[in-house]
């Protein structure tokens, strides 16, 4: 959107001044960063600076990639892949379960979804790590459980399992809401027609509602996968050897945390941007086909791509009301169609048209 007219000569002159000022500020900032990174004897921790070759070359040797970066990337993708599949299954089960007509199914599903959405992901991971301890303590506290052999159960939870379980529970709960929104977005006439053909509830759900809902849910699901992938970095905290942890190993060895962090971030950004673009492409494709894309956004003006990527352990796309309301009283998720290039399209809003000659202050 443009908040300004096509600039005239005076405005253009003013904008040139702004540009120069911005440029100066930017140069000053970059100069300061460069000075800081350059190091000096004033900085006892970092006398040699960050630009020396010995800090950067270790990140690009075959050995680093072979022993650290590629295995780390594989571990990250493995955790993300397993968690993604499990979270989609979890989300589908609990999303559909929450819509059940039977209170004894819908209530527990709602409680589970709201609980796991409401607490930090890291706590879930810590709990999973401590799970063997839980069994031991249970066996100690409840003699009956010890009698049936709980005390003898000897399991260990490896860090991969902890990360995957945590990611599954959290993202699965978020996806459950996405599924619910998507299913509710299918026009009512569809299920009515199916019932009138004599289909049962299960048939209506599996044959009519889910297949149609999946198309509208795809962008939101892929956007959630970006969150999931970013959150695998939490594995660092429980020492799962994923990408970040392995870059940390390199940086400990070569004392080059800043170059290592930059290269590591570049890898994450590349993967996440590709996934985000994919989500936006899916959404545009839906819009082209005249379908709406489901989001769990309650308030106006949030697009799934932007909110979807909301965070490490973030609250992707969730309306605060939906997050906050206790189980059972949660407002229904809403569906918004995203017109592809309508005036309110958030995706390509603020950048505005790059060529100001195309018309007086068009949006998008």
């Amino acid at each position: 959107m443009l908040l300004f007219d096509v600039p005239g000569p005076r405005a253009r002159a003013r904008h040139r001044v702004y540009t120069v000022v911005t440029l100066l500020v930017l140069v000053a900032l970059l100069g300061y960063v460069g000075y800081v990174l350059n190091g000096s004897t004033m900085r006892p921790f970092n006398p040699e600076g960050e630009w020396t070759a010995q800090k950067w070359t270790p990140l690009f040797t075959a050995a680093s990639w072979q022993h650290y970066i590629i295995p780390g990337l594989i571990n990250t993708l493995m955790a993300a892949g397993q968690a993604a599949v499990a979270a989609v299954v979890f989300g589908m089960l609990f999303g559909v379960g929450r819509m059940s007509d039977h209170k004894w199914i819908s209530w527990p599903c709602a409680v589970v979804v709201e609980f796991f959405r409401g607490i930090p992901l890291l706590m879930l991971i810590f709990f999973t790590v401590a799970f063997p301890l839980v069994l031991a303590q249970l066996a100690e506290a409840v003699p009956a459980l010890a009698a049936i052999g709980l005390a003898d159960v000897d399991i260990t939870v490896d860090t991969l399992t902890a990360v995957v379980v945590g990611l599954t529970l959290y993202n699965g709960s978020v996806l459950a809401e996405v599924f619910r929104a998507g299913i509710q977005a299918v026009p009512k006439g569809q299920s009515e027609a199916a019932y009138s053909l004599g289909m049962g509830k299960t048939q209506v759900m599996t044959l009519i509602l889910l297949p149609q809902a999946v198309a509208s849910m795809m962008p939101a699901i892929v956007a959630q996968l970006v969150v999931l992938l970013k959150d695998t970095a939490l594995g660092y905290i429980v020492a799962y050897p994923e990408l970040l942890r392995n870059f940390r190993f390199i940086s400990t060895e070569h004392n080059n945390i800043i170059p290592a962090a930059i290269v590591c971030a570049a890898i994450y950004i590349a993967i996440n941007m590709a996934l985000s673009r994919f989500a936006i492409w899916l959404e545009r494709r839906n819009a082209r086909r005249g379908k709406a894309s489901a989001t769990v956004v309650g308030a106006p003006g949030m697009d799934p791509a932007s909110v979807g990527a909301l965070g490490a352990a973030g609250e992707p796309g969730a309306a605060p009301a939906a997050t906050a309301a206790p189980a059972g009283t949660t407002p229904e998720p809403t569906l918004r169609g995203e017109p592809d290039d309508g005036p309110g399209e958030p995706g390509d809003g603020a950048e505005g048209p790059d060529e100001p000659g195309t018309g007086p202050a068009d949006r998008g």
Binding site: M1, L2, L3, F4, P7, H15, Y18, T19, L26, P44, F45, N46, G118, I119, P120, L121, M123, F126, F127, L133, V134, Q137, V226, K230, T232, A233, L234, I237, L244, R248, N255, I257, A261, N272, M273, S276, G298, A299, P300, G301, M302, S306, G311, A312, A313, G314, E315, A319, P320, A321, T323, A324, A325, P326, G344, G349, A350, G352, D354, A361
Partner: protein, 224 residues
């Protein structure tokens, strides 16, 4: 359960750090987000480019990495310090990392809020001769802020939960999740009651926030 309540001061201490991290990071991220949004809708292409690059870069970086960069990079490698006190030093670096990260989502919300404002409003404002700055201050932001109360509430709730990652910035800030882990590991209290206790603690923080923001969003909604 008794063991959990016997150590309730530890729990309170953990959550006090969580609250402090949340409040300061919320303030920091809101201010930075506001600046980024203004830059992203400004008439100067260079400003738009800088703000967009920042948002796209930081929001696609895992928060763990952002905090690690603040803690180990800025603090240990480059030798920046805020205070002599290690605990508070880590705290401030965590606040910086959380603010830098959350500002992206604040900015995205605000921008989409600006996008909900009808074009006629902006055209009318321009036609009566308001400059870009006046347009932003008098017409856009008042409406956009009201439209994004709900999304900003979500961002704040996410931020509260994200403070648990502060331990990536360094040891010293024992916020709630780190406190919980210590209580697990040191066997201070059994795992299940401790976990449920801390989970309730987070719900106690986030539920009222959610209620408040959805109430406020309804109350302040712009009728169109």
């Amino acid at each position: 359960m008794e063991a959990f309540f016997a150590n309730f001061d530890l729990v309170i201490n953990g959550f006090s750090w969580t609250v402090r991290l949340t409040l300061l990071s919320a303030l920091g991220s809101f201010l930075l987000g506001l600046v980024l949004t203004a830059m992203r809708v400004s008439p100067v292409p260079l400003m738009r480019g800088i703000a967009t690059t920042y948002v796209e870069t930081v929001r696609n970086t895992p928060l763990t990495l952002v905090l690690l960069f603040c803690g180990l990079g800025l603090s240990s490698a480059l030798g920046f310090t805020f205070t002599e006190n290690v605990e508070w030093d880590v705290f401030w670096f965590a606040v910086i990392g959380l603010s830098a990260y959350t500002a992206c989502f604040v900015s995205e919300s605000l921008r989409s809020g600006i996008n909900t404002i009808p074009l006629g409003q902006i055209e009318a404002a321009r036609s009566i001769g308001l400059t870009f700055g006046q347009n932003l201050q008098l017409i856009l932001l008042p409406q956009a802020l009201r439209a994004v109360i709900g999304p900003l509430g979500s961002v704040l709730i996410a931020l509260t939960k994200n403070t648990t990652i502060a331990s990536a910035a360094g040891l010293g800030v024992i916020e709630a999740s780190a406190q919980m882990k210590q209580m697990f590991d040191k066997g201070i209290a059994p795992v299940i009651p401790t976990f449920i206790g801390f989970a309730i603690g987070f719900l106690v923080l986030t539920l009222p926030m959610g209620f408040f923001f959805s109430w406020l969003a309804r109350r302040m909604a712009v009728a169109r």
